[in-house]
Point group: C2
Chain length 246, copies 2
């Protein structure tokens, strides 16, 4: 039996790092936010080869004493300049991409994470370019996916991230993580419309979601025309039965 066919447990007992090609462990971030009725993703324009001047997901190296999720949080702060202490961000692991040739330089294993950034639905925080990036900004997700112009396998990762979010919104209240602590049902419906590229009926949406949320008792004031809307908060919860994507 060759070393490769041994199990990892046995293998490790006689493992010498110098005998084997090094592996770089990284995280890539799919950072979503909603603005102007559209789902946006944070992308950086690469300053270096390969894929120089191409668009890529922000990401970075996992430190020796870190877990991937710790690295994801740290990179989110560093690479985009977002302050996690201030802004509430939801992060979860998405999937891991291990194809041996996904990076032409060496073997790079990337643990992709999905991050949901809370916003008011109008404006997004400016994001700063990280060390290797020429610039960074927010891009419309559905357009980017159709254009297929992301570096490395980041197009596939972005697609997986969107699928995860769209799916989870059917049976949980995650969509609320893209909104401020308190929000109206219309804001929440806007998130669904942005992610699903749909136009849900307001009345039915309210009837379905209302019981899943917590009414703060307060209402919006000074909206430009129209009745004031009730303000709700949400905790991550299962919707049962799910809200079906049309």
């Amino acid at each position: 039996m060759t070393p490769e066919t041994n199990s990892a447990k046995k293998f490790l007992d006689s493992y010498d790092p110098r005998d084997y090609p090094a592996i770089a462990l990284t995280v890539d971030l799919v950072v979503f936010a909603v603005a102007g009725g559209m789902l946006k993703v944070a992308l950086v324009r690469r300053a270096e080869h390969p894929f120089k001047d191409g668009l890529a997901l922000p990401g970075g190296f996992v430190g020796a004493e870190e877990s991937a999720s710790q690295a994801a949080g740290r990179e989110l702060a560093e690479e985009t300049g977002l302050d996690l202490g201030r802004l509430p961000v939801h992060i979860e692991q998405l999937a891991t991409y291990t194809s041996p040739d996904r990076d032409p330089r060496m073997r790079v294993v990337s643990v992709a994470h999905l991050a949901l950034l809370a916003s008011n639905g109008i404006s997004l925080p400016r994001i700063a370019a990280g060390s290797d990036a020429a610039s960074a900004g927010w891009y419309a997700v559905h357009e980017i996916l159709r254009s297929k112009e992301l570096a490395f396998d980041h197009g596939a990762i972005l697609g997986d991230g969107l699928a995860r979010l769209a799916g989870k919104m059917e049976y949980t209240t995650v969509a609320a993580r893209l909104l401020p602590e308190e929000f109206t049902l219309t804001q929440l419906r806007t998130v669904y419309d942005a992610v699903w590229e749909t136009t849900l009926a307001a009345g039915n949406f309210t009837r379905k979601m209302m019981p899943q949320l917590t009414d703060t008792g307060r209402k919006t004031r000074g909206a430009a025309g129209g009745a004031p809307a009730a303000l709700f908060t949400a905790t991550d919860r299962h919707i049962h039965p799910p809200l079906a994507k049309p």
Copy 2:
């Protein structure tokens, strides 16, 4: 900025493997099958320290030219002696475990995979112990989870695997991957009962699942009492609306 805080892309440009601690990339397998009305998982008893004589998930090292999913398929064959060419097996990536101290010997990053082995629901193929294992066999999942006696973080991985399967069975027909190509509705219901630890009502289950499956036109023959049951096949499909777990 320290090297660690650079993004991976920049980092790699000046990367020297010798400067950084090596990372072992492995796969762990959560192999499920149903027998005797219970959900079983394939486990090996460890022959070596650490966790000598403890129970662990089968797994192994990812080769230099392999992706994690390729390694998962190879290890499933090698570590358990199952012949994938013959037995139909469904494999999907589960999650990646990266805690720096999850293995006391060195940094081991493990990409866990979920594997569903088709069986007739009665007997399971004997599995052979891999190179590092004293023995290997099938264990009742729910009991193992309650006992919390798995090595490393394999208890958490097994729990995540079960949650993934249980959840996916609500809105897809994956459960059929634990059965032969052709199966009856009662067999399928047995899978649901085993995974969910429930007892679903036969009539309602039939009404709900029937339209999701393909009727072969054939029927079972020679069952020990009772009417013959129609034989169905399934392709991976969404169930809409989902079948709710009680």
